[in-house]
């Protein structure tokens, strides 16, 4: 039967006042409870009946003090209720981690960004999640708690498949920690979309490069929407590391990035186009980061 729902399925809405209370609810309702932050992924999914067996919604928004964006000299900390919009506009993010602000700005519309959170974006774990590639290049760490205890997961290990993460049903992410990037590094996120706004990434490429006297001291490349999860392409990164920048090597890196992903064909693009674009955009990102004017550059749609 095909039914087009306008109404949400029935569930109980729970509004805990503390993380402890939230964790207790999750462990009590074992898998039939779902955490929401902004709800911009969860609510449409519930409506489409793409999320089954959810009897309880545990809303974190009633818990105070979770929307922090703080910087302590060693790194940045994002709370689970820090919205995409807040990250996009935060002075410290703009100053210290401009790539994150840039990725945030590439998402959805101001309305959705005001609602959606960065933590929600990575927990939802679609391959095209826009915050993921930059966080991957920044070696972010995800703090996770449950009633049983807490753990820290490197973002590289966080995603396990399309819409799947290492989180179990009774766990909550309490924050993301992002260490300072290497000195003199610069990063860029290029999101490929047909339109200039409100599009999901056909391909997302984040590149962070640390040049030193014409030598590539460090290179990190992460890709979105071209594999079952957002990924780093270590093989591609290693080609330039320690070597002098040259067009030839940059082309090789781009080629290796294209080889290193596993795109699918769907209604948004073919696998072939996605792979081609990984090659094009990886090369473009590195080149643009190397040219001085582009040091503070923005992605497509901003006159790149």
């Amino acid at each position: 039967m095909v039914t087009f729902y306008r109404r949400l399925p029935k569930f109980d809405y729970l509004a805990p006042q503390s993380i402890e209370e939230a964790l207790a609810l999750l462990s009590r309702y074992q898998g039939s409870a779902k955490v929401i932050a902004g709800g911009s992924d969860v609510v449409p999914k519930l409506k489409r009946r793409a999320m089954k067996g959810i009897d309880y919604i545990v809303d974190l928004k009633g818990i105070s003090g979770l929307d922090y964006i703080s910087y302590d000299g060693a790194g940045l900390k994002l709370g689970p209720l820090a919205t995409v919009r807040a990250v996009e506009r935060s002075d410290v993010v703009l100053e210290t981690f401009p790539m994150l602000a840039q990725a945030a700005e590439s998402m959805a519309s101001p309305q959705v960004r005001n609602r959606g959170t960065v933590v929600g974006n990575i927990c939802n774990a679609v391959p095209s999640a826009d915050m993921a590639p930059s966080l991957l290049t920044l070696d972010a760490k995800v703090s996770v708690v449950s009633e049983k205890g807490s753990r820290t997961v490197a973002i590289q290990d966080f995603f396990t498949g399309p819409t799947k993460t290492v989180l179990s049903a009774d766990e909550i992410v309490t924050g993301i920690e992002i260490p300072n990037p290497p000195a003199n590094s610069r990063g860029k996120y290029i999101k490929l979309t047909p339109r200039r706004a409100m599009d999901l990434a056909v391909v997302g490429v984040a590149v962070m490069v640390t040049p030193e006297n014409g030598i590539c001291k460090d290179l990190r490349i992460a890709l979105g929407a071209v594999s079952p999860t957002p990924i780093r392409v270590a093989q591609a990164e290693s080609i330039l590391k320690g070597n002098k920048f040259s067009d030839e090597l940059i082309d090789q890196v781009a080629e290796a990035a294209a080889e290193g992903c596993r795109p699918i064909s769907d209604h948004r693009a073919s696998a072939e186009y996605r792979r081609d674009m990984v090659r094009v955009l990886t090369r473009r990102a590195i080149r643009e980061l190397l040219s001085d004017e582009a040091a503070s550059a923005q992605g497509f749609g901003k006159g790149a």
Partner: protein, 771 residues
């Protein structure tokens, strides 16, 4: 009248404040006490026999009040023409497209109705489906309707002049295949209705319809009631653009029948995903175009074979296919034209009308092919258009095309002249390449018709009643579905009566009181509704002037009304504000009832659909357009930088509204050209959301420069013609020709997505390498 007081002025919309403050009531905003909610059970197959429907589990769910299936409509079917009545309100023994409705449920609330859908047990026998119109025409393809041989739903074969000879004589002949996409209207109000079949045998509905009178007739026929027992009340309409809101849908019929069965009002509101999956869309059409020209670039012959994907039922398809043929002889002179059009049934959602109806498909093909010919001849693309375009007939004369289309005004050539300067500037002075972006400029011309003729009832009518407070009630059958016609019609009434627009109180359609009208259909309201209002207002003025003449004991010819005053020009003592004169008329003596009526008389001959000869509309609008587009040669991404659009829409009655329409048409055309397409998998729509069905957003819209080419057509109130469908038609070719100019590749299948462009660039590079 030499000088108008309102016509030609940018009067703000009469409903603007109500709309932006959220006070305007749309169909889904209405409720009635005791109301039930209707939800449709839809098929998970694109083509299947319905073996059995068992609703007993659904009926046992507390809160469910009734279930209807296709059989409950007693075999009634409907369609645009008597010969094509092939669509039942709800599928009876077979479903012909994915998610076609098979049952309707009424329950005490929407949640219960939705829950009950899963409890209706439908047994299907899946049938092989056919999803490609060219495959569907082949012998042995699965039959969508038993009555249609080779799945051909409608076909036309017209032959004017002698194309064979013209091709033989031509210096150059090109043959290409073009295709348009599966585009949709993209309005923000999905279909909705609130229906009540009261026990005494009257149907009352408030429905989101841009042609309420079509719905009125459908309901009367379906429920076998005299028309006088059906009342369709029109609320505010949140966009129309043709197709779905001209027609009646499964939800409309089910809501009424469920109301009849339960004795309660029943409400039905479609979800956006439902609308995008099931509703009528623009036909995607394949055009095999053959064009011949002389060495000097004079186009001597066009032969079009068009194959239109009609989907599961005929709907308005005969008109769509007719318009795709008729439009080809405009806006250029053409002596030889052959058309073979086929609308083909498939197991896809239905193809139907949409802004730029019919003409957009073949004009796209012809404009692109003209550029190809110009390029091969080494001729400029604007020059070839200037050379071929139809001249403006001298006042009092008519230009007749080879297929009998008559033009009294044609601003095509002037429009091309007007865009020439921006075209040359953009081509020759602006950069051709910036980084990865290669820039190109396209130019195109397009016609559209004003007031599409109907097979049946054609005219628009108006009644104007003078009220004692000096306001007038404007009663028409016209529907403002967002285009602003309530404002324009009020301006016409006010202009004729010499009163302010605020003194005209427009009534929305209520089929019990307003005169019958085809509604917002084929760019007709301003011209045909406008003529009706103009006449009705003149009638009211005559009667009121009569009263004034008697009051002042002067001749009626000496009395006039302007700026809210009734006066005798030669005698400053004899003047009175309009509202006071209205009271004099209403209160003195027996108390006159001042009321005027009018109806349109333009364009009354019926459509020559079989012969292809004669007019499709009352008059014809024209646009010339340029587009500057940047192509990222590596990613295929497009930057649409600017449009210049010169339009001949006769006389602009309200530039603010007309320009809004022209820009809106162009933006919708841009969507069709580069973004919009339903991606299908065996009849199922894979992108039924506005995230993945991509319409241009505000940030995607180019700078637009509009130029008004005034022609003042004799067949339109104050010289008005259609505005916005022509700019919708001229945009896709302008953009796609600009892409070719920029990147050297022809994207002959809309939309020109980045991926298609990259693929074409790769192929071009490969070809070059082979040479």
């Amino acid at each position: 009248m030499a000088e108008f007081s309102l016509i030609g002025k940018s009067v703000p919309r009469v409903d603007g404040v109500e709309k932006v403050t959220g006070k305007a009531g749309y169909a889904a905003d209405f409720s009635l006490p005791g109301m039930l909610w209707c939800k449709l059970v839809r098929s998970p197959y694109a083509h299947a026999r319905i073996v059995n429907i068992d609703a007993s589990r659904a009926l046992r769910l507390p809160g469910v009040k009734a279930v209807v299936t296709g059989k409950d409509f007693g075999g009634w079917t409907w369609g645009w023409m008597p010969a094509t009545r092939d669509e039942p309100p709800v599928a009876v023994d077979k479903v012909r497209y994915w998610a076609e409705a098979v049952a309707g449920i009424a329950a005490i609330d929407e949640d219960t109705a939705e829950e009950a859908c899963d409890l209706v047990d439908v047994e299907y026998e899946e049938l092989p489906g056919v999803f490609d119109p060219e495959e569907a025409m082949k012998d042995g393809a699965p039959a969508v309707h038993d009555y249609a041989e080779n799945n051909i739903s409608v076909q036309y074969h017209w032959n004017f002049g002698d194309v064979e000879k013209a091709f033989a004589d031509a210096y150059i002949v090109r043959e290409d295949r073009f295709a348009t996409s599966r585009a949709t209207k993209g309005y923000i109000e999905p279909p909705a209705t609130l229906a009540y079949y009261d026990p005494s045998g009257y149907i009352t509905v408030r429905a989101a319809k841009q042609s309420p009178y079509f719905h009125y007739r459908h309901l009367a026929a379906c429920f076998k009631l005299p028309l006088s027992r059906v009342r369709v009340i029109q609320p505010y309409i949140g966009g129309g653009f043709g197709g779905t809101k001209n027609d009646s849908l499964a939800g409309d019929f089910c809501a009424v029948l469920l109301s009849k069965m339960t004795g309660k009002p029943v409400k039905y509101v479609e979800s956006m995903e439902e609308e995008l999956t099931t509703s009528r869309r623009r036909h995607n059409m394949i055009t095999y175009s053959k064009m011949g020209a002389t060495r000097d670039g004079i186009i001597t012959a066009i032969q079009h074979k068009v194959i239109a994907d009609g989907g599961g039922y005929t709907a308005v398809g005969p008109l769509s296919l007719y318009l795709a043929g008729f439009g080809t002889t405009l806006p250029y002179k053409l002596d030889n034209f052959k058309y073979d059009g086929y609308r083909v049934f498939t197991n896809n959602p239905m193809g139907a009308a949409m802004r730029g109806h019919g003409v957009t498909h073949t004009r796209f093909a012809a404009e692109c092919q003209m550029d190809m010919i110009a390029d091969e001849l080494g001729m400029d693309r604007l020059e070839i258009r200037m050379k071929n375009s139809i001249d403006n007939p001298a006042p009092g004369t008519t230009y007749t095309t080879i297929n009998g289309v008559t033009l009294k005004t044609c601003g095509m050539k002037e429009a091309f002249r007007q865009v020439a300067e921006p075209y040359w500037h953009e081509r020759n002075e602006l950069p051709k390449k910036e980084g990865n972006i290669s820039w190109g400029v396209g130019v195109s011309g397009a016609p559209y018709l004003t007031g599409a003729r109907q097979m049946g009832h054609q005219a628009c009518a108006a009644i104007i009643r003078l009220c004692e407070d000096g306001t007038v009630n404007l009663i028409t059958g016209a529907t403002d579905c967002g285009q602003g016609s309530d404002t324009v019609l009020a301006m016409i009434a006010a202009e004729e009566l010499g009163i302010p627009v605020s003194a005209v109180i427009s009534q929305k359609v209520d089929t019990s009181y307003t005169p019958a009208d085809p509604g917002s259909y084929g760019s007709r309201v301003t011209v045909l509704g406008g003529q009706a209002v103009q006449k009705a207002a003149q009638e009211v003025k005559k009667q009121l002037v009569e009263v004034a003449a008697q009051t002042w004991k002067v001749k009626p010819e000496d009395v006039d009304i302007r700026d809210g005053m009734v006066f005798v020009a030669s005698d400053p003592d004899k003047q009175m504000p309009f509202d006071r004169m209205a009271r004099v008329a209403c209160y003195s003596g027996t108390g006159a009832v001042i009321m005027g009526t009018g109806y349109s008389t333009y364009g009354l001959e019926p459509l020559g659909m079989e012969s292809g000869y004669g007019n499709a509309g009352v008059s014809y609008s024209f646009t010339a357009q340029t587009a500057r587009v940047g192509v990222d040669l590596e990613t295929g991404q497009l930057t649409t930088q600017s449009f210049t659009i010169a339009s001949d829409c006769g006389r602009m009655l309200n530039p603010l509204l007309a320009e809004g329409q022209i820009e809106g048409g162009a933006i919708q055309g841009l969507g069709q050209a580069i973004y919009e397409d339903f991606i299908m998998d065996k009849g199922r729509t894979l992108n039924p959301t506005f995230v993945d069905y991509k319409m241009p957003h505000s940030v995607d819209i180019p700078e637009m420069k509009l130029i008004d080419v005034e022609t003042n057509d004799p067949d339109g109130p104050y010289g008005a013609k259609e505005a916005s469908e022509a700019s919708h038609v001229s945009t896709p070719p302008a953009v796609i020709c600009a892409i070719h100019d920029a990147a050297g590749v022809w994207i002959k299948e809309q939309p020109a997505t980045p991926e298609k462009i990259v693929k074409a660039l790769k192929e071009k590079a490969k070809e070059k390498a082979q040479k």
